[in-house]
């Protein structure tokens, strides 16, 4: 009886001690998955997804409360990367396949108020007070922050014009299938 009491007490105390120490020394700050997911997101904190910045979006993704297609500037690349990390099937049907877009300043409407370049998360707008602004297409993520603040609606998001470098062959049509159906009919 005594031996059993002692041995169980010793066992309980030592295991409790080990668990307590492990909890202290192997403590993980936050959810590591959130950090990994945040690294896959564009990191421009534009807020288009409706969450406060990319950290918020990553937390929502990790919790499973946000769809993989939440990031408009990220496009298909981000969706496939997130799907690969989370081990789920990527549903690309919700992603606009308009291709990359960039902001464009309509010079006849721009009054040089500088509001857009103050909000641009990637410093993609060039300008000075009372001078027409312009957008560096290489730095623009089409997050739309500038569109919202422009008082004269001078900024539009346009599909990026294809260049010789970005042009590619379209996917061949699926005529074989159509023929097969026609033959079956």
């Amino acid at each position: 009886m005594i031996a059993a009491l002692i041995s169980l007490t010793v066992l309980g105390t030592s295991l409790g001690l080990i668990l307590g120490l492990a909890a202290r020394f192997f403590k993980v700050e936050g959810n590591p998955l959130v950090e990994e997911l945040e690294a896959l997101l564009p990191g421009t904190q534009c807020g288009q997804c409706g969450y406060p910045g990319c950290t918020g979006a990553a937390q929502a993704l990790a919790a499973g409360s946000a769809p993989l297609t939440l990031c408009p500037p990220g496009g298909r690349v981000v969706v496939t990367a997130l799907a690969a990390r989370l081990g789920v099937e990527a549903d690309l049907s919700g992603v606009e396949d308009a291709g990359p877009r960039i902001a464009e300043v309509r010079e006849e409407l721009c009054i040089g108020c500088t509001r857009c370049y103050k909000v641009c998360p990637t410093d993609a707008v060039l300008g000075a007070a009372k001078h027409i602004h312009a957008v560096f297409s290489e730095a623009c993520t089409a997050c739309g922050s500038c569109v919202d603040v422009c008082p004269t609606e001078a900024i539009l998001l346009r599909p990026a014009a294809p260049t010789l470098q970005s042009w590619g062959w379209g996917k061949p049509g699926l005529q074989p299938l159509a023929i097969a159906q026609g033959m079956a009919a």
């Binding site: 564009p42 990191g43 421009t44 904190q45 990220g74 496009g75 298909r76 690349v77 981000v78 496939t80 690309l92 990359p100 998360p121 990637t122 410093d123 993609a124 290489e138 730095a139 993520t141 294809p162 260049t163 010789l164 470098q165 970005s166 042009w167 590619g168 062959w169 379209g170 996917k171 061949p172 699926l174 005529q175 074989p176 299938l177 023929i179 097969a180």
Partner: protein, 492 residues
């Protein structure tokens, strides 16, 4: 000497006799030359001339930027009339930065220093001169030659293979240049050999060009350059196929020929090297085959770079019928073009005007899994399986099956009994992969920019707070001093 067995390949109808029996003609200067600033793989050249400036033949128009790049030169003497966008020789029909020159008809050359004996030049000097002359691979890929020479010299190659395969149907520009300019080509080969320190030089020529073989053999006597006939087969002109046929060595997947100690150059490139080193003439013209069923008198022309394609067809008597398709390069791997105003560039080996009968192709039918494409693939891939994955948007699966090793030779599409555009699937998938890579690179850049901006914003806020704190402290010190002075005054 023994030749090695090759994998895959097809035997399309050659149709070379249309243009191969007429000597190379020199095309008269057109009224305007449109010289694109990017005619090579790599970064485009930066213009160094101004509108209105007079230029001489061979004078620099644009300097290369970066490592993999090539300069462009004025094809003849004249005036720069425009620097801007002009339709590019590309299937998209988009425009590219182009320098437009109005020839003055004098054809005066810019004087560069001509070396007395090119064979005493240092090896790196030869590749530097070839680079300065704007030489790129003239077989079609247009990769800057000096980059290839430098890399091969540094990694050490033992064999120089000169590609005289010309396996594409219709094209005969390499055949003609070997028949007519064999001596110059052999000198060019020896210069390249000197530049990279290769012990052997072997020229591989398809056995359907007996005259070219004979001319090259005569020119190569007592030079140490070997001339070898290889069987006529498509794609024999693919460098890895040529290496395997001649040397029995296989280039590893996703590797380069330099990995197995071989450097490959085209015969026309060897000729251009000879012109650049011995005569100090930059690459400003090339031999182009004009052929196809719609052309009245197919032939080979020596054409200044920048000549509109229309001028070439006009010089060959114009069109017999309205062409159903215009192609730059060969019919198997060439680029379809939509208008004849596009210029000839350094990589243009042929311009073809094909009739409906020549391209005739029924609508594609379903794959019957006959695996004819597998037997035809020179790389040893499974085209039917890769295409099935691309069709269902499984790009990762396609890459795992070797999509990146596909050379786009079109053998699979050519033999497919169902007429499935297999190579179109692969080109689409490669373009999509490249677009994804570009998008990822842009995301990295913008992420960095966003991080820099937030760091800057934090710094500004911190500095403002610090300045406010400093002002407050200064004010407090001043007040304390005033108080102290008041106290002293009161005490006194």
């Amino acid at each position: 000497m023994k030749l090695f067995k090759m994998r895959g390949g097809v035997h399309p109808e050659a149709r070379k006799a249309d243009s191969s029996e007429r000597p190379i003609r020199i095309l008269p200067l057109p009224p305007l030359l449109h010289v694109p600033l990017q005619q090579h793989i790599g970064a485009p050249a930066k213009p160094v001339v101004r509108v209105g400036e007079k230029v001489l033949a061979g004078q620099l128009l644009g300097v290369g930027q970066g490592h993999v790049t090539a300069p462009v030169h004025a094809p003849t003497s004249g005036y720069v009339v425009a620097i801007g966008d002009h339709p590019a020789p590309h299937p998209s029909g988009l425009s590219a930065a182009t320098v437009t020159i109005a020839p003055d008809g004098e054809g005066r050359w810019f004087e560069y220093e001509v070396p007395a004996d090119p064979f005493v030049l240092a090896p790196d000097d030869i590749s530097a001169r070839a680079g300065a002359a704007g030489i790129v691979g003239l077989g079609g890929a247009a990769f800057p030659s000096s980059v290839k020479l430098d890399a091969s010299r540094q990694s050490g190659v033992d064999t120089l293979v000169i590609n005289g395969g010309e396996c594409e149907p219709y094209l005969t520009c390499d055949d003609r240049i070997m028949r007519e300019r064999a001596a110059g080509i052999v000198t060019g080969i020896r210069l390249i050999q000197h530049a990279v320190g290769a012990g052997h030089a072997i020229v591989g020529i398809e056995d359907n060009k007996p005259e070219a073989l004979a001319a090259m053999r005569a020119a190569a006597v007592a030079t140490g350059v070997q001339i070898r006939a290889v069987p006529a087969m498509y794609p024999m002109g693919w460098e890895k196929q040529m290496i395997h046929a001649l040397l029995g060595r296989e280039v590893p997947a996703e590797g380069r020929s330099a990995d197995i100690g071989v450097l490959v150059h085209n015969v026309a490139t060897a000729w251009a090297v000879q012109q650049a080193i011995c005569l100090a003439r930059p690459l400003v013209s090339r031999i182009v085959t004009v052929s196809g069923g719609a052309v009245i008198a197919p032939c080979n022309l020596e054409v200044p770079i920048g000549t509109p394609v229309q001028a070439l067809f006009d010089a060959c008597g114009g069109f017999r019928t309205t062409p159903a398709r215009l192609v730059l390069g060969g019919p198997m791997m060439g680029q379809q073009i939509v208008r004849t105003s596009v210029p000839v560039v350094k990589g243009t080996s042929g311009v073809l005007a094909l009739t409906q009968a020549e391209i005739g192709r029924a609508a594609p039918a379903p794959c019957i899994r006959c695996s004819t494409c597998v037997r035809a693939c020179p790389v040893g891939l499974l085209p039917l399986e890769i295409a099935a994955r691309v069709r269902s948007d499984d790009l990762a699966g396609a890459v795992a099956l070797g999509l990146k090793d596909c050379i786009g030779c079109g053998s699979c599409s050519y033999v497919c009994p169902s007429g499935i555009p297999l190579v179109h699937f692969f080109n689409y998938a490669k373009g999509d992969l490249a677009a994804q890579a570009r998008s990822k690179a842009k995301q990295e850049t913008t992420r960095k920019l966003a991080a820099e901006r937030s760091a800057r914003m934090e710094r500004i806020v911190r500095e403002r707070e610090e300045a406010a704190a400093a002002r407050k402290a200064a004010k407090a010190a001043k007040e304390a001093a005033a108080r102290a002075a008041a106290t002293t005054e009161a005490a006194a």
